[in-house]
Subunit: 295 residues, 2 copies
């Protein structure tokens, strides 16, 4: 199913799976999904995330029926769910009818080290996984093209109840994108962008290593995706540091800003979206930040 | 608000106005709106339509809170709501907080005779009317651009609760359309299409007048829009005539196919979408149809 962005597709997912089910989401996580599920009338609960995503033992007691996860690159922690936990998640879904997993594969295309682990969708044998992805990150956000891959049994249900919907993506964009994929341009573009982003990431991490912040911070989750985490060696509260930096013209994004339940996200940890960072302004910013940490 | 088609906007309307309200729709009417409201979790009821739209005396006892209507060209009856009834509808909405009117202006641009009556939106003084329209009919369905004009008070609510949504329309289409409007091309295009469609309509009506159907049918609702009604002088049931015609390769669309409550739409009345009809195939079709009526 092709749709005008994943946000639109989230709306359709609730119409397909039902608003009477409990949706479980990652905490810290991508808050738009929860907002949209809630606006669509579904109930949501948030589940904690460790370095491998949502721990299996959280699933059964939570009472959730639809699990919305990003096992290939969790936002914002960057956690990658190991294969054994993926299999455990599938078993959890298989244990009861009406349980489903929405695999939101946002930002999974840019993996710089290590082999990619098979998607849940590719190892699902029981029609339990709904796969969602977008071309916003890999091509351009202004394109507004996302897609949804449904298991066969749900596809039938979709067609009979929601099949009347007109496509939300203009025909000309669909034809252009189809050609772009068919002729191999997308793969080539991804490879080029992977090199570009890896270089940019290396430059930003090197700049941190040369800056007065060096030795007082730790880079994490830099193996994939267009952001990494920067844990700061400080006792300053996130909100106070954020405010102090804002006064100096630096906008900081903290892991804690993405948490629903207080304490679920590590404190003193920046979410660094590196594609836009370069050159002198970065160096000046790092110096300013280092000074703020000393105070 | 610009969105990827009116269907998408109907989804947003329920999120904005709430799924706990009762939505009243025209019967016979455009069934997709009701399907989408229902899928979005709202309750719907259907209200009868006469030659001026939904009669005022139906509103209060129905218990509906949100009225979804097309006062400028009702689909499929072609009814146009007179100004006095429009004012009555606005008074109904003003009588209670939480009452709203969704003015769906689909297919209103092609008016061939008579002066257009002011839209409800333009005479609304109490922030009660939400105006919806699309460029599907006037430019191309494959464009996927619809829009929603909210009253100021609802716009605030929209921005605070739904403002986080990304636009569903690609940037390039929005810029192109904006230029097309700004430079007057849209007005010129509409004028050209109005002449084109009026000629086409006249040709189709003339062909009916020359055919063996002449004198055994009545053209209605031809003043506006891209379809008219053709009341047939027959006692054959619609379903039987439709089946007999289908066997001869003619697809007929009856007014009764758009009714929710049996008896609300006049029987023996075809909904004729004329833009695609021309030439010899039309003449042959009219002859076949006339023969079927005799049987």
């Amino acid at each position: 199913m092709v749709g005008a962005g994943t946000e639109y597709l989230y709306n359709l997912l609730v119409q397909l799976l039902g608003r009477d089910r409990m949706y479980g989401l990652e905490d810290p996580g991508y808050s738009k999904a929860e907002r949209i599920y809630t606006l669509s009338g579904a109930r949501c609960l948030s589940l904690p995330v460790d370095e491998g995503g949502i721990p299996l033992e959280e699933l059964e007691p939570s009472g959730c029926q639809v699990l919305h996860i990003s096992p290939n690159h969790q936002f914002p922690t960057g956690a990658v769910t190991p294969i054994s936990r993926r299999q455990g998640m599938l078993r959890w879904a298989e244990r009861e009818t009406g349980r489903y997993i929405i695999e939101d594969d946002y930002d999974s295309e840019f993996r710089f080290t290590g082999r990619p682990i098979p998607t849940l969708q590719s190892i699902d044998r029981a029609d339990k996984v709904l796969y969602v992805n977008t071309f916003s990150r890999t091509l351009a956000p202004s394109l507004r093209i996302g897609y949804l891959v449904l298991p066969r049994t749900l596809l039938k249900d979709y067609e009979s109840r929601l099949g009347f919907y007109s496509s939300t993506v203009p025909a000309i964009e669909q034809y252009t994108l189809a050609l772009f994929l068919e002729e191999g341009h997308f793969e080539r573009h991804l490879n080029r962008m992977r090199v570009f982003y890896r270089n940019r990431r290396d430059q930003v991490i090197a700049a941190i290593g040369r800056s007065p912040l060096a030795g007082r911070c730790r880079v994490m989750g830099e193996e994939a995706g267009l952001h990494f985490l920067l844990q700061l060696d400080t006792s300053l509260e996130d909100a106070r540091l954020e405010e102090a930096a804002r006064k100096k013209g630096i906008r900081l994004s903290f892991l804690t800003q993405y948490e629903r339940v207080p304490g679920r996200a590590g404190a003193h940890t920046l979410v660094v979206s590196y594609p836009g960072l370069d050159g002198e302004r970065l160096e000046a910013g790092l110096e300013t930040l280092a000074k703020l940490l000393v105070k």
